[in-house]
């Protein structure tokens, strides 16, 4: 193998004439984080609602939640993004469709929405599992005190369920961040897209990919460290969670 390494390329100017390649990669990282975080917040809200639906005594609610989960989990992310981006605007009334198509940052909004719907069933399944692991005793105790069902979820079941599923939620959050890379197919200039751009313009393939690999690893470590802090502050004294 005689590949010509040239790490200096990172600080060479990209074809636009005033930004070095490394800044392109960093701006990609920024879009990865912004898109991933926005999508995660939305997915967390949607997933919590659907997860709660699936634990209600109503058969209809359970069924509805099930169909939602199977639907958004059964189609690959890239296909979902294509549907949101290419198909949906044409199915809407003409004025709406063209308004969407002319939207600035269209790929960004589409990515956030697509990624959120793709991630939400995974969150929902976790939330459901967390609530079901409480095995009914806590719900009955809360109801017996006169709390309504929404109050019981708000003050007792959800705070406990979120604590139980925190480790798996962390890995879903990491998946959400990594999955932003798929949005390059609809034109989002996130980290992987910028890596590709650098590789195409500079021909220094492995420098570009090594640096973005490093950036992804650092991003992971940052999230994991952040969630450790959350886990520690959410730990309940006198329970196993403290020992972890």
């Amino acid at each position: 193998m005689h590949y010509n390494w040239n790490w200096g390329i990172l600080f060479a100017l990209s074809p636009d004439g005033n930004t070095p390649y490394i800044d392109l990669l960093l701006s990609g990282l920024e879009w990865t984080v912004i898109t991933g975080v926005c999508a995660w917040v939305l997915a967390f809200i949607l997933g919590s609602i659907i997860g709660v639906l699936r634990t209600l005594p109503s058969h209809t609610a359970e069924r509805l939640g099930f169909v939602y989960v199977e639907f958004f989990r059964g189609i690959p992310l890239i296909v979902q993004l294509f549907v949101w981006f290419f198909v949906l605007p044409d199915l809407l009334p003409v004025e709406w469709g063209s308004w969407i198509k002319q939207l600035r940052n269209g790929p960004f909004y589409t990515s956030v929405i697509g990624l959120a719907f793709f991630t939400s069933p995974r969150v929902a399944e976790q939330v459901r599992a967390g609530i079901q692991s409480l095995a009914g005793g806590q719900l009955r105790a809360a109801l017996a005190m006169g709390l309504t069902r929404p109050q019981a979820y708000r003050y007792v079941l959800l705070p406990l369920a979120y604590r139980i599923i925190l480790p798996t939620l962390t890995s879903e959050m990491l998946n959400c961040l990594k999955n932003t890379s798929v949005a390059l197919t609809i034109g989002l200039m996130e980290l992987t897209a910028q890596t590709r751009a650098m590789q195409e313009f500079s021909f220094q393939v492995f420098e570009a990919f090594s640096v973005s690999t490093l950036l992804y690893v650092l991003l992971n470590l940052a999230v994991v460290a952040g969630m450790r802090v959350v886990e520690r502050s959410a730990a309940i004294p006198g329970t196993l969670a403290k020992a972890r």
Binding site: G137, R140, A141, A144, M145, G146, Q151, I236, G238, T239
Partner: protein, 242 residues
């Protein structure tokens, strides 16, 4: 205060409660006992609508539990319930456990809910533990907190579902003592328990259940002196042996 009329309940094909009728008068302590699987826990859980039943009526303080128009949360707020496994909320401190329903259901402000809560913790001897979490307390202490939590709602009656079954033997008495003092204060109580000593000392009446039926419903004195049914006699001889 609590009145059961011909209450029937099925789990699928299984008939858990077979036309059960009994009552708890105001200020009365009624102990429900019987072999495991006899339906006694189900009976008590029907009283605040935690478990639905298919036939018959239960009225609590004049309100019908099975009626679809009954505001169940409102009814439950007036009936305290204590569970076998305590069911304290592990993510809330002891005092926050006592405050939660006072604030969210009764609409009390934080200061008065705290004051009420501290007074009750004092009463069960746990005021010093107010800021601890349930996981940091022993089982007996947790169950006393659970009793205080129920009392914080100023209930008109208290339901106890095997309150000492999950406790280590040395902790049973501290819980029974709290219950005894509650009874002495005139609280209306319905208690599912195997503690026959407690029943004998504190109960006004004993309801004996077997296989989903109320077999005996009589005064405590009569029940322990001369049970009418063979099934109750057998139950007593088994349980009093140890």
């Amino acid at each position: 205060m609590i009145d059961y009329q011909n209450v029937c309940k099925w789990y699928g094909d299984f008939n858990v409660l077979k036309s059960c009728s009994t009552h708890v008068n105001k200020g009365e302590v009624v102990v429900v006992c019987g072999p495991s699987g006899s339906g006694k826990s189900t009976l008590i859980q029907c009283a605040n609508g935690l478990t639905p039943f298919q036939k018959g009526t239960i009225t609590v303080d004049g309100v019908s539990v099975g009626d679809r128009h009954t505001n169940l949360p409102k009814l439950r707020a007036r009936v305290g319930m204590v569970f076998q496994h305590f069911e304290l909320f592990p993510h809330l401190t002891v005092i926050a456990n006592l405050r939660l329903a006072q604030e969210k259901v009764l609409g009390r402000d934080k200061a008065s809910a705290t004051e009420k809560g501290m007074a009750l913790l004092e009463r069960v001897g746990l005021a010093a533990h107010a800021t601890k979490y349930p996981g940091q307390l022993s089982g007996g202490q947790q169950q006393r907190v659970a009793i205080a939590r129920a009392l914080a709602m100023n209930p008109v009656a208290m339901l106890f579902d095997e309150p000492t079954s999950a406790l280590d033997p040395e902790m049973i008495n501290e819980v029974l003592d709290v219950m005894t003092s509650l009874a002495a204060d005139g609280m209306t109580m319905m208690v599912v328990t195997h503690e026959m000593g407690f029943a004998r000392r504190v109960a006004d009446r004993v309801v004996f259940m077997d296989a989903g039926e109320i077999v005996e419903d009589t005064t405590t004195e009569a029940f322990f002196r001369e049970p009418e049914s063979e099934r109750a006699r057998q139950f007593l001889s088994k349980i009093l042996q140890h």
